[in-house]
Amino acid sequence: MTTTIAHDSAPAEANDAALAPELLVRMHELMVRARCLEERLIRMNKQGDGYFWIGGPGEEAFNVPLGLLVQKGQGPQFDYLHLHYRSSATLLAMGADPVDALRQMKSTASDPYSAGRNFCNHYSVRKWNVVPVSSPIEVQFSMAPGSAMANKRAGGKGITIVQGGDAGTAEGDFATCLVWCSRPGNELPCLMIVTNNLWGISTPAGQQHGEKHVADRGRAFGIKTAVIDGNDPENAYRELKKAMDYVRTERKPFLLEAMVSRLYGHSSASGANLVSEEADCLPAFEKKLEERKILTRVAIDELRARTTQELLEASKRVREEPQPQGADIWKHVFADVDLVGSAHGSNGRS
């Protein structure tokens, strides 16, 4: 059954349909890979193989289904993603190579996301419409309406997905997204996601937020909303699918709030140690899979061990890759050609 904490419309029947075992196994494998990747990034940072860590351990149960449900490609026929710095599991579920995350952690010249310029988990993948993740909180919510307009114009089923944390919704940009996505007659196909871990660095949400649910803020704008348990991957998959189907077909916004865990604290600045009080989606899901005889403990442990080992070895190889050179700072200040426009001459660009 599905755990919706709050919902505008009663959960649809389809919603409760069990997911195929193959899908569950696939989700589990991706969750394990994402967890092992974050654990490796944390280790690298603690060993001095990278100056800073921030990432998404604890959000896998939500971010993996999100990545699996994305319509992946370049240009406005496909989904645009304005992601958070905790979205590693989404990237992996879309098919990203975990080694690239290690490269960004080690600031190598080979880092495909920023060539050693940006912090880890600050992705950029043009071929999948993943726009550059930037450190300033919530600015992605001001940008999202732009790509959503492109999606709407293009016809088709492409939507814009924008994701951020709970504390960040206090920035005006969150309100901007609500206003711009709900203009009468110009509603935008934008799925706004708030991954609520009830923290902003050291500040508890309850101290700063008078909203019962952040998602309630969508109501005044006639935006459909839902608040869901993001620690249950099956529930997350169903709720995300439902929300996405609505946005894809209605071409209207949806505000989804997912309650998630912050398993290793805010970042390396706060120690990046396991927080035992936080619920861990992975063992909980594995218990279910065992009970339902979909996976055995042995297989699970073996997968975890193998993945850990692979990433350990990868991190050693990455350590040997060349660093960027000083003169590189002058590269890419300006673009010589129009890369983003190339996806469609359709708009008559000369």
Binding site: S134, G146, A148, G172, A335
Partner: protein, 353 residues
């Protein structure tokens, strides 16, 4: 001859018809008003936004990253200061993604004083804009450059800031500044593309068949050649500098006036050639004078041309106070005036008038 604001409108029209402009948007930019300065009247892709500058800049970035070609407007540059972070972000998208993305957008905004705009309709933006790496920055001083620079901005794959000197918007083009294809009679042009007063619901513009003309970004223009002193300026101060040069001609002082047109990239070669020729230079703009772009030009001049200088280079700029006051005396005391420009030039050539 087209006015500067008509030239902007023509360029936007050509942009949406031939160069892929998908959106011309901002507060009151769409029908019925077509912009507080009429710059976007009658455009096919013009639309009104919520009253939210952060949303405007953010949407422009999102549109650009999604392959659209947006021209966004901030109604007055005085109201752009709540979105500097987003401008920094736009300027850093190509760089931070190591070339994975570019961000082709144009951000237009009216700048400067001269219309008795008081505290919040008189700001300049050149100082702030030149602190934004990753942006190209242009500022026309006449209709032809307004047209040609805007078309270049539109086809550029990078974020381009287009600063319109609001006091010059209604200035007419000089005889040598005709836009290729514009009607000879400017009454005719107004009839074709200026929206009527009153009900406009049925009005449609009749666009003249104007031709492409690209003023390259990064190229300055010597508006007046001279031998005794150089005035390097841009925007609203160009006509002031030319008037001062005119005045000084009567006194036997032959001044050169350089209109930068682009603030970044900068046409250093043009400045260098002028300084090597006259050995005396005045930098002139109306922005506040502390941490002012003209000070960058002074710095580069002393670093690279110190031994060419026969007099200390001068900067004439706006007073470093919180705003431009409304009363005539206050506005005049806040931004450079013709007599000040002329006497600064005289001092440079050593003629005390």
């Amino acid at each position: 001859m087209a006015t500067l604001v008509q030239a902007v409108r023509l360029a936007l029209h050509v942009g949406e018809e031939r160069h892929g402009v998908t959106d011309v948007f901002g507060e009151d930019v769409g029908a019925p008003l077509g912009g507080v300065f009429t710059q976007s009247q009658g455009l096919r892709t013009a639309w009104n936004t919520p009253l939210d500058e952060r949303g405007i800049v953010g949407a422009a970035i999102g549109l650009a990253l999604a392959g659209q070609r947006p021209v966004a407007e901030i109604q007055f540059c005085d109201y752009a200061f709540n979105a500097i972070d987003l401008m920094k972000l736009a300027g850093g998208i190509c760089w931070s993604s190591a070339g994975d993305y570019n961000c082709p957008m144009v951000l237009m905004t009216p700048v400067g004083s001269g219309i008795r705009g008081s505290l919040y309709h008189s700001h300049s933006f050149d100082g702030q804009a030149t602190r934004l790496p990753g942006w190209k920055i242009v500022i026309p001083s006449n209709p032809l450059d307004a047209y040609g620079l805007l078309l270049s901005a539109i086809v550029d794959p990078n974020p381009v800031m287009y600063l319109s000197p609001k006091a010059l918007l209604r200035a007419k083009a000089g005889p040598d500044e005709r836009i290729p294809g514009e009607p000879d009679d400017d009454k005719a042009l107004a009839k074709m593309i200026d929206a009527p007063l009153g009900d406009r619901s049925k009005w449609k513009p009749e666009w003249p068949d104007v031709k492409d003309l690209f003023v390259p970004i990064g190229k300055a223009k010597v508006c007046r050649a001279g031998r005794h002193v150089s005035v390097v300026t841009y925007g609203r101060m160009v006509p002031v500098a030319l008037a001062a040069a005119q005045q000084l001609a009567g006194e036997g002082i032959d001044a050169e006036v350089v209109d930068l047109r682009s603030l970044h990239p900068l046409d250093w070669e043009c400045i260098e050639a002028s300084v090597r020729k006259t050995n005396r230079v005045l930098f002139l703009n109306e922005d506040t004078e502390v941490t002012n772009f003209g000070e960058h030009l002074v710095r580069r001049t002393v670093e690279e041309l110190f031994y060419e200088l026969h007099a200390a280079p001068r900067l004439l700029a706006g007073a470093h106070v919180p705003g431009v006051g409304l009363a005539d005396n206050l506005e005049r005391a806040s931004v450079p005036q013709l007599d000040q420009v002329a006497s600064a030039m005289r001092e440079l050539v050593g003629h005390e008038a």
